[in-house]
């Protein structure tokens, strides 16, 4: 116990001292990793006999987390720019259907490309209405959420569309690289792209500046309209790619894929240290948040909780984690 206690104290101490310096958002950035480790430890302890830590279960968690994580990376950009994208869930569904339709006639590559392009179009629509008509993105994307859900229901009259293309399924879901599911590989790629874009590209910095203070960003000569549109395009494109991954895993396109994911995605991103009000974002945090969500889902099921109790437990844990991640450190 002593041997474990020392490094733990060291970690806690370094977190505290970093929080005191207040560099780059401080304490709240690390809450997500503490939450991750605590939840992992609790489940590992209580679900040892149920095989929570077994390779197959961990891979299962990874597969479940993948689409949420991809959506979370996109949503982090929308929130960073002080916008929000409520249409991600319906974009997932439409994208999966577009993939199913196009893969059948034109092959796996065209199918994936068309699905992702669907996301670009949705994002452009969301963004342009938001900046040109000057409607808050909250309301615009609430509208598109309905519109896209409706379109998705009409594509195949509420029926699933099977995808009978082995390459598509292998590449975007069923396949694996060594022991690692291709879903996880794609998630790592999307994470790397998102992290790089946010922290190492001019665009990412401009998204953060716009989200933190649009007037000041404008006064500095930034085209904040274009930046806000691009952030919403990033969000919808990532959601569309998540749709490709779900379509690949399930080998179908269906109107209700992703339908219930919106709040999970937002919770994942916010637990990860991204501000709901713009200007601060963490891609690594968003992905970790998505893994936490998948872990909770999996662990609570393994614990044998009823669906109703799962919902309650998940809600309580999310509120706790968000409360912690939004709290600024007390010391000045």
């Amino acid at each position: 116990m002593k041997a474990v206690g020392k490094p733990l104290r060291a970690v806690a101490g370094s977190i505290r001292s970093r929080a005191r310096q207040g560099d780059d958002g401080g304490f709240r950035q690390y809450v997500v990793y503490l939450a991750f480790v605590s939840i992992l430890a609790v489940f590992a302890l209580f679900l040892w006999d149920d095989g929570f830590l077994s390779t197959s279960n961990l891979l299962n968690i990874g597969r479940q987390a993948a689409p949420i994580a991809v959506m979370a990376v996109g949503m982090a950009f929308a929130l960073a720019s002080a916008e929000i994208d409520l249409s991600v869930g319906s974009t997932v569904a439409l994208s999966s259907l577009v993939a199913a339709v196009v893969v059948g006639d034109h092959g796996f590559l065209a199918g994936a490309a068309a699905a992702v392009a669907t996301g670009v179009v949705v994002g452009l629509f969301n963004g342009l209405i938001t900046v040109k008509v000057r409607i808050p993105s909250f309301l615009v994307t609430l509208g598109t959420l309905g519109i896209i859900s409706g379109i998705a229901r009409n594509v195949n009259n509420l029926q699933s569309m099977p995808i009978r293309d082995d390459t598509f399924s292998a590449l975007f879901g069923a396949g694996s690289l060594g022991p690692v599911s291709s879903l996880v590989v794609w998630t790592i790629i999307v994470f790397a792209l998102g992290h790089f874009a946010l922290h190492h590209l001019r665009w990412g910095r401009h998204v953060l500046a716009t989200g933190a203070n649009r007037e000041s960003a404008n006064a500095s000569g930034l085209n904040t309209d274009r930046i806000r549109v691009s952030a919403l395009v990033a969000s919808a494109t990532a959601a569309a790619f998540a749709g490709v991954l779900l379509a690949g895993r399930l080998a179908i396109g269906r109107h209700d894929l992703g339908e219930n994911d919106l709040l999970t995605v937002i919770a994942a991103v916010v637990i990860g240290g991204t501000s709901l009000f713009g200007g601060r974002a963490s891609i690594a945090g968003a992905v970790t948040g998505a893994v936490i969500m998948a872990m909770l889902n999996n662990g609570l099921i393994l614990m044998g909780l009823e669906v109703a109790d799962q919902l309650i437990a998940r809600g309580v844990i999310i509120i706790l984690a968000v409360a912690l991640s939004m709290r600024a450190p007390q010391e000045s």
């Binding site: 310096q21 958002g25 001019r202 953060l208 933190a212 007037e215 000041s216 500095s220 000569g221």
Partner: protein
């Protein structure tokens, strides 16, 4: 004297029913500091925001080095060599000092491709930020802290430092010393003199008459959106300036001053 660095002619700007600027004309010259004076609501900040590309004037012209320009955005103003510090600072609280100093002027690396992609050259910006602030005598505890965690005076110093560092031809300062202590305010005056000696045209908005007499060559007074006085600072007293600001006196033609019943 050579052509003015900045020539404003008959600039007007209304916000709904309020005529914020009403036919204002003004010259700024290289190597000279012009004070822009006036009571609250006189139109000073509106004028500066028109020159900085934040507002579009309804009518009138703006010429820079003799050529007329439409300053359609802050980006255009910057590219014409016009730098400004606004009352509301224009810093981004969540970005650090270097990120603010280089906002929208980021250095990139990786050659042509890197510059198209916007690949940030963070180390170069961090280093150059440190050098610039040291050269300007601005001392900060950390360049890596988000500026929102710095004091009001430090933030003010960064905003001014940014304008001074990039100011090529024309620098517009809206109340730059308002939030500063005595020592820091003196530093700002030194920075203004540095700019003047570097042959930059400076416009300084302030309510502090001591600062006007300390660094300014010319004073221009606005009242209710009109220019009511223009004077050589060395030829007038501070009392004269206050009389111009309150409207008790004017140097412009009487016809332009609205009749208000009181004798001047």
């Amino acid at each position: 004297m050579t052509a003015p660095a900045l020539e404003v002619r008959n600039l007007s700007k209304a916000f709904r029913a309020v005529q914020a600027l009403d036919g204002v004309s003004l010259d700024l010259h290289r190597g000279r500091v012009t004070a822009l004076l006036g009571d609250n609501g006189a139109g000073k900040s509106t004028l500066v925001k028109c020159l900085a590309g934040i507002y579009q004037p309804d009518s009138g012209t703006i010429s820079i080095d003799g050529a007329e320009h439409r300053i359609s955005s802050p980006d255009v103003a910057r590219s014409l060599g016009v730098e400004s510090v606004h009352q509301d600072l224009s810093l981004i609280d969540t970005l650090n000092v270097a990120e603010n100093l280089f906002l929208n002027r980021e250095y990139t690396r990786g050659g042509w491709f890197g510059s198209r992609l916007g690949l940030l050259h963070k180390r170069r910006m961090q280093e150059e930020c440190g050098e610039t602030l040291a050269r300007l005598g601005i001392a900060l505890p950390s360049l890596r802290k988000p500026v929102g965690l710095l004091s009001g005076g430090q933030r003010q110093a960064i905003a001014i430092g940014r304008a001074v560092a990039w100011g090529q031809r024309i620098v517009l300062l809206d109340e730059p010393a308002a939030a500063l202590g005595v020592e820091q305010a003196r530093r700002v005056l030194d920075l203004i003199r540095t700019l003047r000696d570097a042959n930059v045209a400076v416009l300084l908005i302030t309510h502090n008459m001591d600062r006007v007499t300390a660094v300014c060559d010319t004073a221009v007074v606005l009242r209710r959106g009109r220019k009511t006085a223009e004077a050589d600072v060395s030829r007038v007293t501070q009392d004269d300036l206050v009389a111009f600001i309150t409207g008790a006196r004017t140097t412009e033609s009487p016809a332009r001053e609205p009749q208000r019943g009181l004798s001047r």
